[in-house]
Symmetry: D2
Subunit: 341 residues, 4 copies
């Protein structure tokens, strides 16, 4: 196979982003796109680039000229599609989360393992050059053994109630990236989760049974610690910072600003705010995660962000939810008998 | 009274620092110093500056030419001295903590209230220009209502075992500054404390029954949150940063570097490390806290950092200890029936 | 015209960059590429994207299905091609400099004016978001009237002797960007140039009759000042900073780092170096300058970086050379009787 | 001599600052202060600290209990006082400049040499920890051989016309610090000076025959370069930055901010401005320069900032003035037949 032939299931914002990136890549070919509603794609420049559009994802799964599918459809459709795609021998890239249910995610991963296809979960931030460099620095031993990992993760503004209701809640929709980041940076197993959370940004979120502000403390197998702070509303932009503090130093990644400009006035010195749109902030990361997926297939290499990574992050999201609801620390093994590392 | 006449009880490092600052102030006069062991002071330039040295603090308390005492002796001597000094009508500045026991601290504060003397606790970081500016920014409403307060507080290296054993443990000795900082910045009451802690830096600390690494989550009356991360060993220096994140922005104070110099090489860009000695980092804060004490007395104004502030910070330290030992969240009112705000 | 049809003359590094950007744009179509030597393009993915390749640029100029040409060939070929392309009614984007001779550049601009085609010079840095924001800040009056403009411009390493010999020298090849930047930021006319320069980086450069280090002072019509410092070798990367200082403040743009990562060790705090490859540093600027050219044609708008801008920057390069050779300040009007602003 | 006994000649702002620093030092004793007008000192706390005040500086020079004098009187009085003090065997610290005349400064230095007393010029910025670290970095060879040194030096606001008229002009009053800094950082001899200057801040300054904005290019013996940019008015504060760029890297010192606080709003990120009062910005430098003087005497060591340093900086100030007036580069040896390094 010299060029990977891909189909995209789900033509929403993320699906269209992946489509655009595929079209600019010479090692991947976008063959088809499926979506229940094709209005967003019909008549667009995307339509001209693909062999066909369809409202039925099964067309892509049956298509012998498609090697891999990108699943970008609503979460509640993921698992069935994964099972079918795996059975059809398609390699699979699936947006997070795999599912809202531990058992369903297990079902999906079992199908993937049985079919022996490549499976990658869309935790794009692992591919961001800043977080990648933090991870490399830690793995190279430059800061010694991690003692405390801190992740700050705040969105510019909260999503609407309709989204809150179907997104699985803040821990599954937003913090799940941070759970993965913490696993990625530490390379350790989390054994316990404790959540303090609140509904401070918008009462509508609380009415949906969700939270918008949280401090999440995680304990690793070796007793070292991590803490995540989340908010659904940071007026100054997208705030995503990490720090790994070890016994021999510390390494952190800061926000990328909209520009490097500095203005000095008689009042103050002004710097630009952080980038405030995730498509802007992670532009390169989305490209790199796709390239990584393609290389794993074409070069028959290990996928960098696996189904297991997806599963583990989801477990932590469930543990966080449980901790918040029951107002206690939750030992991860309560959720799964066996923690597969 | 045009100039305040002061006696220092306890001629250790902190006592000598306060002495030096008094000598450089024109509104305060250092009359006498007491310490059980006077070796560190006898024959020094300090000896020439004072009217007398003594091994008996009661000499200072009886001295009609002393208006105020600075209590810089070991913690276990504080309360008795406070009670006697108050009874003698002396204004009192006491280094933190007031005592290791809630009841004992209450006893001291009752004596102070009865005698109606000024009483200030030595939480010097409140007087640091950076933290002061953060506090002013919050109080001015510039960032809206605080949702998350974060404090990072790491020492360059752990103290020896002998110190660990008599210091009351990390929460009482080190985190207590952070408990006070969080009260100072939020101007809110803490209702709950949850601690995850570990002994990662040096086994000797664990053998002393103490911890050296911690993540402490605090919940305020209004449901907003705060988190402190501590470590007894940051190889790069004294790391003390705060951030207050609100619904209308965020304000943070960063470390002060040893210099503003930047070196660019073919490998990297190097900046100077943070200041690594507390006497250097808080040089001006120590001067300002003393001036504040003196002004409160000479100008008959409110003390900026009161006995109540000391008491509340100690309660949080006790709550933290309890949370760690019992592995659960501790509601602050478990420790005191009535939380005096 | 819904999509602009473009031909690229000169398939070297810059030509191929423009080609790649055109291919990713939906409003431009790359029809053909010409180069005396097609080895670098034949068999590449570029070949498949275009209608044809040719060794004769006249094929592009005669081609009725080409609306505009991008001239990316060696400088000494620019003017003849411009004259022919203009005569054929093609819009023209020309890489800097237009020519090494004031008269030749005039000849080119006269042909363009006569044919009334759009003409843009490739001063890509004007389109960099950081420099653009500096310019917007100045034009909005935020820093008052500019008094001093400073430009630092240093390359990671010097080009080889063969390049030095045919590039027109440092002022024409490298500083010319800074002359344009200074005109762009100030929106004022330069009346005088004074150069101090030296050969400090590599003797070979001096043997070529060129310099590698310079301080260039410029005086504007209104008496305000500007200074450029150049070096052909900055070991830490591509160093391109500007500052506009006015009577009401200052605005500056700093380097973009390779990442936002910060590592704290017991020795130092390390930040990443500036980006060190011009294709990386100005990736977006190259895209934006192309879009600007296309929009000027399709929307019949003013070109943002005109032939006059190219001409003026070249005059300053010549003035700089003269100042260095004759060791005196050079009044710009010595080179042209009439300064067209 | 265990403690140095000092007299201060000139009780203006700088004299009083030195007085305050002496009083806080244990190795120096302030014996007396002289000033033509003693109103600023009589009745102040300073009066109580000294043995006597006098309107006649000769009292200090005749006083056998004074070992050294600090000359902080108006510049036009310096040389006569130096000659007399040297003849009386007093060590001398003299504020800059020594005089407004090359011949007069020579006369003063000859007297000092003949009397073999210690002589230090008040270029306090050499003692600033940031500039000191830049200098140390250069001398350690960390950035290779300096190619370009840049100094930015801008005051928060211009002095009144009365001051302008008696201060010797901007080059002698303000830039002279930068001339010394450049000599200090490079450790090389300047051979040529070229000035472009203007009167842009306040017409009154021009009416006094002075400038307020300048770009000054200096050439060293080895052909390497330096550039200073000055302005009498930076609305955002005291702007004093240096950069030494060499063939193996670069080192720079940036401004010290009023605090380390950062505020993020929906508009911008705000940092504090640079310190805006020279007594604040150079507080420690003034202490260190005094200690250096005292140590040179008590320890019989080399003075760190010598009369020769003062002389050389003044020569450059004269060369700058000449360059501006005659609108040409000035070779330093035009002003002195022999450049003493």
């Amino acid at each position: 196979m010299s060029s990977l032939r891909v189909g995209i299931i789900g033509a929403g914002r993320i699906g269209q982003l992946h489509a655009k990136n595929i079209l600019q890549s010479s090692s991947v070919e976008l063959r088809a796109i499926s979506d229940v509603f094709l209005d967003g794609v019909k008549g667009s420049s995307l339509e001209k680039e693909v062999a066909y559009l369809t409202t039925d994802y099964k067309d892509l799964i049956k298509d012998p000229e498609i090697d891999a599918v990108l699943i970008c459809s609503p979460t509640d459709t993921h698992v069935d599609i994964i099972v079918e795609a795996a059975a059809a021998g398609k390699h699979i890239f699936c947006e997070k989360p795999i599912s809202f249910s531990i058992d369903e995610t297990k079902r999906a991963l079992q199908a993937v393992a049985k079919a022996n296809v490549k499976f990658q979960v869309g935790f794009n931030r692992r591919f961001d050059k800043n977080f990648r460099k933090v991870s490399d620095t830690v793995r190279a031993g430059q800061i010694g053994d991690p003692h405390i990992i801190r992740v700050t993760s705040r969105d510019p503004e909260a999503p609407p109630a309709s989204y809150i209701q179907r997104s699985g809640g803040m821990f599954m929709d937003m913090t799940i990236h941070d759970f993965d980041m913490i696993r990625y940076l530490s390379n350790k197993n989390v054994v316990e989760v404790y959540v303090k959370a609140a509904n401070l940004v918008d009462p509508v979120i609380g009415e949906c049974g969700d939270v918008d502000t949280a401090i999440i403390t995680l304990t690793f197998e070796d007793g070292s610690l991590a803490v995540i702070d989340n908010s659904r509303k940071a007026v100054y932009g997208y705030d995503q910072r990490v720090e790994v503090f070890g016994n021999n130093g510390a390494v952190s990644a800061n926000n990328e600003r909209l520009s490097s400009v500095e203005i000095s006035t008689d009042q103050s010195v002004l710097l630009d705010k952080p980038k405030n749109f995730f498509l802007d902030r992670y532009e390169d990361a989305y490209v790199d995660e796709l390239n990584s997926f393609v290389e794993a297939i074409l070069g028959n290499k290990e996928v960098e962000c696996t189904g297991e990574d997806g599963f583990q992050a989801e477990i932590l999201a469930h543990a966080a939810r449980k901790s918040w609801e029951e107002k206690r620390a939750v030992v991860v093994s309560e959720l799964v008998e066996e923690v597969v590392g």
